[in-house]
């Protein structure tokens, strides 16, 4: 056998910068690494000294794709630190806003970033010619998600109205009713995407790992709940450090994590595996149609799990709008009482569980911040997938190996620019 060398500098169609290194001689793997090379951005250092009023606004800038996730985790951390319990109205609006981001991010990943792999083109742009209807559908769905977020928070990328204690501005009920019809229409678009997804040639590979996500007794958890591990059960969010166990590796600007095994997985497939029973009916039906069964150990199926979640999000959003319309919206007086203390906020970002951990002084100024980002938690699992997968495909042509490894990375929908500043901080 001859040598195989794969060196992908800056994997494309992912958010952020990462490299793949493989060097094999005569069937022996000499080097095999997933490297994260994103510039360190030092957000935790930058949050220090900032007022609680600006914290979420700054934290949002960690990531352009999941800015609502960062904003929500940040607000929840601050509320936990101050002992604020958001009102029922606030929670309904927050969940709906959250769904907008989940929808937009999943559509972006499934159709713009992952689908080109399965349809054997290099990007979404050639699909404008060959699959124009799909591209138009993706744009339509993205627009719907953007409009929903605009209605609730002023905009989708770096939302404005959602603040500690509630919303600085309430949406117009008439507009909310109007967008309901478009969400119903989206379900038909998702059906068409399911048709397309059935033609995807998904690599046959499985490696069981530990699956970690939030879990809530009453609903498929996105913004509320405790930490749930497929190996170890429930841990309260405030004890997240006992689950994430971060460590540095020399070839990566992102920290790595592990819990019960060498690595663990977060994201849509982890949620699907741990919380399958709480998915709404159309989502379960779609999973069955696409051959996705819990527990599933194939990381390439993350994309399918995201599509399943799109149905859940659409159905859930319809139900949330119905509840909001039924109860009406009223201006609430939510005074924020500042106090010294520490609080942890946890949400399921589209690509997995996200923690913000803040410590405030008595003036409401941040003295310490720690953010643990989902992609960070997946880096180590990507590495372990590489180690399990490469021996199985080492006899394939070099280009095919390279492409398969890129597909593994893309399947996780990594958000690398996030992960390179998802780092532990001690302000002393």
């Amino acid at each position: 056998m001859t040598g195989k060398k794969v060196n992908v500098h800056q994997v494309t169609r992912v958010e952020g910068h990462g490299n793949i290194i493989l060097n094999a001689q005569n069937g022996n793997i000499k080097e095999l690494r997933w490297e994260v090379t994103e510039s360190p951005r030092l957000f935790e250092a930058m949050l220090r000294g900032r007022s609680y009023q600006d914290a979420a606004f700054i934290a949002s800038r960690i990531c352009g794709i999941c800015s609502i996730a960062h904003t929500t985790a940040s607000i929840q951390a601050t509320e936990a630190a101050f002992g604020i319990q958001p009102s029922e109205q606030t929670l309904l609006l927050r969940k709906l806003l959250y769904n907008a981001e989940m929808l937009e991010s999943h559509v972006l990943h499934v159709l713009f970033l992952a689908a080109p792999d399965f349809l054997e083109v290099d990007s979404v742009f050639p699909l404008v010619e060959t699959h124009r209807d799909v591209v138009l559908m993706a744009l339509r769905l993205k627009k719907l998600a953007y409009n929903l977020a605009e209605l609730l928070a002023g905009r989708k990328t770096h939302p404005i109205s959602c603040i500690v204690g509630g919303f600085a501005k309430l949406p117009d009920l008439g507009e909310l009713k109007a967008i309901r019809n478009r969400i119903e229409g989206a379900l038909a678009d998702f059906e068409a995407i399911v048709g397309l997804a059935k033609t995807f040639n998904i690599p046959d590979f499985a490696r069981e790992t530990e699956y970690i996500c939030l879990k809530h007794p009453e609903e498929y958890a996105f913004i509320l709940g405790d930490i749930c591990s497929s190996d170890a059960g429930i841990t309260p969010v405030s004890e997240y450090l006992s689950v994430t166990n971060e460590f540095c590796v020399p070839h990566s600007t992102a920290k790595y994590t592990k819990n019960k095994r060498d690595s663990y997985m977060v994201g849509a497939l982890a949620r699907f595996n741990n919380n399958y029973e709480q998915l709404l009916p159309r989502a379960k039906q779609t999973a069955e149609e696409l051959g996705l069964k819990a527990p599933c150990h194939n990381p390439f199926m993350i994309t399918v799990a995201q599509l399943v979640e799109c149905f859940h999000v659409a159905e859930h959003s319809l139900s949330l709008i119905a509840q909001i319309v039924a109860r009406g919206l009223e201006e609430e007086d939510n005074p924020v009482k500042v106090r010294a203390g520490r609080g942890v906020g946890a949400v399921e970002a589209p690509r997995g569980v996200l923690f913000h951990d803040y410590t405030y002084d008595k003036r409401g100024i941040l003295t310490e911040a720690n953010c643990i980002i989902p992609t960070n938690q997946n880096h180590n699992n990507i590495q372990k997938d590489f180690e399990a997968l490469v021996p199985q495909i080492l006899d394939k042509p070099q280009d095919e190996i390279r492409h398969t490894l890129e597909m593994v990375v893309r399947a996780y929908d990594p958000c690398i620019s996030c992960s390179a500043h998802s780092l532990k901080v001690n302000f002393k």
């Binding site: 742009f125 404008v128 993205k142 990328t157 540095c248 780092l423």
Partner: protein, 245 residues
């Protein structure tokens, strides 16, 4: 021949590039007018031959400087995309910390693995032809600037403060609501979206060319606010300019 367009990102959240994908209907028109040859976030194949470079992100480590210079040498037109590229943006908040200290805060004993330097906008390193401001950019302004540059014209970007658009939007003044706002000195073009959405201006589009600092001071005095309070908020997006002043 359609002009070849490339997108590049440096230190940023990549949200501005994502918003480019959100221009929806116009995206298809745009694709009819240009060839996108390099867009790592959504495209695998890359070409080193391009006419127009859109650049997101600020420059925050040594290794980014030669990469940016190479892009400048190749491109006929360079467009700074978003607050990080135009004015340095939030990345510059770390500049007031010593770099070694910031790294130690985040990575503790492992800080030696990492390379960072004070963040700066791209025009601190190479000349820039056009600016699409904001955090994030407004897609309308992105389209306006792009159309102008394709026609070889200078785009009309407001050089008046956010207050003008805020008044037109019919908002009650933030100062009257008991908070403070950077609107009086920050460049408009955002339709005062943050104030319309119930909050205040953070200054993401940078200063107008000739800010009326005296009038801002008068307003602060009238409402019993200090320059320090305003400076702290101003630094969130404009820490680079704050140091340069």
């Amino acid at each position: 021949m359609k002009p070849k367009v490339a997108f590049f990102d440096f230190t940023s959240c990549e949200g501005c590039q994502l918003d480019v994908l959100n221009v929806e209907a116009e995206l298809l028109d745009l694709l009819a007018a240009v060839d996108i040859v390099n867009f790592r976030e959504v495209k695998t194949e890359r070409e080193e031959n391009y006419d127009i470079a859109f650049i997101e992100g600020s420059i925050s480590r040594e290794s980014e400087i030669p990469r940016l210079q190479k892009i400048r040498n190749q491109a006929k037109v360079v467009v700074a995309l978003g607050a990080c590229a135009c004015i340095g943006g939030v990345n510059c908040l770390k500049n007031s910390l010593l770099m070694a200290e910031a790294l130690r805060i985040v990575y503790q004993d492992d800080a030696r693995y990492y390379d960072t330097m004070p963040a700066r906008p791209i025009d601190a390193v190479v000349p820039v032809d056009y600016y699409v401001r904001g955090c994030p950019i407004s897609t309308e302004e992105f389209l306006k600037v792009t159309k102008s540059l394709l026609l070889g014209k200078k785009p009309e970007i407001p050089n008046y403060p956010v207050c003008v658009e805020c008044k037109m939007a019919g908002n009650v003044c933030v100062f009257e609501r008991g908070m403070f706002c950077l609107g009086p000195v920050i460049r408009a073009g955002c339709n005062a979206i943050c104030i319309t959405s119930g909050r205040y201006c953070w200054g993401c589009r940078g200063l107008v060319d000739d800010p009326n600092v005296d009038s801002e001071k008068d307003i602060l005095k009238k409402y019993g606010l200090t320059v320090d309070q305003v400076t702290e908020r101003f630094k969130i997006f404009n820490a680079y300019q704050e140091v340069a002043k």
